[in-house]
Symmetry: C2
Subunit: 235 residues, 2 copies
């Protein structure tokens, strides 16, 4: 009963339900004057994103229930659909949203002008270990590795925004090191991946094996840098 109503006139959708475009956020907001309504909406959206991130990281895409996300965000399930088209695009948008702070967190380190290349890389490593590998951002990376093959757009985005940029930057750093005579191995510039390999190890280890055997990721990174730059001074 009451189901044949489905075919009956369904309200008037002259206007697309809502376009998240409005919530573009985009760094500094100035267009709309601070409205109680808009503020609350943004707040809710943030809560949903936060909750969804936790759930997706914990269970993966397929096994995550929107009911759980809603409950965790303190919102009704329908509300999610006021902000996102469906589960899939929500996931994609989520990852994209979360990657931005990941990047800025990594390249936001103060680039000391007088520092050696080794110092710069070590600073990067330190930041990475502290801000990524040991936080939820690290799980985000693992999530991308896990779901990437099923979400080519996510993998593409991650490649463009993180991998490609990161490797380019790292290559420049390596070439600077070679030019300065800090790095002897010229071939290293051909494979900047090598420089960040311990970072990936750290992320994976952290979420899979840290309970079996803790890993001092920063120290491992330093030993790795010793291979590249030569032994450190201090014993």
């Amino acid at each position: 009963m009451t189901n044949e109503a489905t075919k009956t006139a369904r309200k008037s959708p002259p206007k697309p339900a809502n376009r998240r475009a409005g919530a573009r956020v985009s760094a500094s907001s100035k267009p709309p004057p601070p409205s109680n309504r808009a503020e609350r909406a943004a707040e809710r959206r943030g809560a949903i994103i936060e909750a969804a991130m936790d759930e997706f990281i914990a269970r993966g895409f397929a096994a995550t229930r929107l009911d759980d996300i809603a409950k965790r965000a303190g919102v009704a399930k329908g509300t999610i659909y006021l902000h996102f088209k469906d589960k899939e695009s929500m996931f994609e948008e989520l990852i994209r949203t979360a990657i931005v702070p990941l990047i800025s967190r990594l390249w936001g380190t103060p680039p000391q002008p007088g520092a050696s290349v080794r110092d710069m890389v070590e600073g990067f490593a330190k930041t990475f270990i502290e801000e990524v590998a040991t936080t939820r951002r690290g799980d985000l990376v693992r999530l991308i590795v896990a779901e990437g093959p099923r979400f080519p757009e996510v993998a593409d985005f991650y490649y463009r925004e993180v991998v490609s940029r990161g490797l380019t930057g790292m290559r420049a750093l390596i070439e600077l090191g070679i030019a300065r005579g800090e790095i002897q191995h010229k071939n290293l510039a051909r494979f900047p991946q090598i420089m960040v390999a311990p970072a990936l190890i750290a992320v994976i280890w952290q979420s899979l094996f840290s309970k079996h055997a803790p890993l001092d990721a920063l120290e491992m990174f330093r030993v790795h840098l010793d291979l590249i730059f030569g032994e450190r001074k201090t014993a």
Copy 2:
């Protein structure tokens, strides 16, 4: 092995149907006629494992449908339950079954007695790239990384059988290299992970980014070894 006993009862089915029994179906085995019962059963079990591996690798645990596995294996869904308790234990058993050949594949390389440590490691790398990183076994590793957190038993097993053993062996190799004077960096023995880091990079890259930019994994590995053992002779 060890399946549930099938009940029996007498009833009359409303519909006959069912006669595909003889149709071994396309692909693969045709010439070798079905032998005895046990052989056919083992064959079927193998087909299920094979199909399940492909499906799980392609879609992950949660998104994989048993109907698809059955179809791919050329078997009815019920047959799966003659061999496995449920989806979850099937997944676990599957991984465990598949890891064994992974190990033997890696440590099965002929340990040339007269070879240098570098040669041994390079041989290992070559085997890994050819036999794991560029094959379905590589996706298996990615699958474990992806599902590990949700299947602690799988992660534990993988740690015990692959990671722990592998690192121990690698550490021994590193210490040998240090003793022989091939390796200068004594600290490397503290982090055997560094030695295999490019292998992990290769696996991830292969399944996520190879279509964006191909990676010569073996050459990368060699450059990495140059860092550890010193530059190679040939340019």
